[in-house]
Subunit: 148 residues, 2 copies
Amino acid sequence: MGEISRRSGFAASAIRYYEAEGLIEAHRSGGGQRRFERNVLRRLAFIRAASNVGLTIEEIREELGRLPGNRTPTKADWQRISRHWGRRLDEQIAALQRLKSGLDGCIGCGCLSLRSCAFSNPDDVHGERGAGARLLPDSLRRPHPTRR
Amino acid sequence: MGEISRRSGFAASAIRYYEAEGLIEAHRSGGGQRRFERNVLRRLAFIRAASNVGLTIEEIREELGRLPGNRTPTKADWQRISRHWGRRLDEQIAALQRLKSGLDGCIGCGCLSLRSCAFSNPDDVHGERGAGARLLPDSLRRPHPTRR
DNA sequence: CCTTGAACTCAAGTTCACTTCAACTTGAAC
DNA sequence: GTTCAAGTTGAAGTGAACTTGAGTTCAAGG
């Protein structure tokens, strides 16, 4: 346990949590202590990368589960997945840029008008789901009980 | 209450919460119901804009408090503040771009090596504070009890 | 006056991704 | 055989930003 914690950079408690969540597997020694196989380190690296991209535990579980045979990602898997994540990052970047350019357009206007200012406009930001572009995608909003 | 909720786009409960947190003010009718002045709508617009940029309630309280005389932002205030937020957004964008280019560099490598892959490298991501560039700034990581 | 929808308060609940705690057990080294 | 750091468990705690619920009161229309 101490070793995998040191080598993966995750706290022991996090590793236990991931096991409980089914993201990794461990078998046990006679006395009930966890013993990990080498591939768990790769899975943990995958988990870290995924969570850096902003995926939730649930999404990570799905991605790992989509790997045929529920195996540790291979090179081909990783290529496919990294393209997918790249698109996700692009969206996040674009969303921030929209926000930024809205802000630039606003500099000097001093309006903060409720309906017309692109930056604070509640219709864009929190209008009906599915209608029109939002300034920030859910993934970049601070997680919120009801919004997500 | 219903009116300000409709016009600001915030749920009534959120507005009560902001009042409790001291972000907005309300005086009361004879029977104890809230009555809002017009400027509260502007403050709420400000709050929405700020939280879109990723500020916490605490930070928003500070920004509002820094306004001389604790007033509703004027044009000049707004210019100063929006430059500040612009820098913050730039940082967030840059962070995502670093992550993206790390990912691009990784596409096809299939490594996910624990120590050498720039994308999952735990030393960059979660090493000592202050050491070297991180892939994601705290503001873009999913908020986390101990990390922030 | 009566009804009814809107507002009130206060405490407790929600979500996520973990951490912390308390009480206890293992297992490697000496 | 003793020691003790390191491991185990399950339950509870954390923080942010609100929401929900229960029970009560307000106020405008008829």
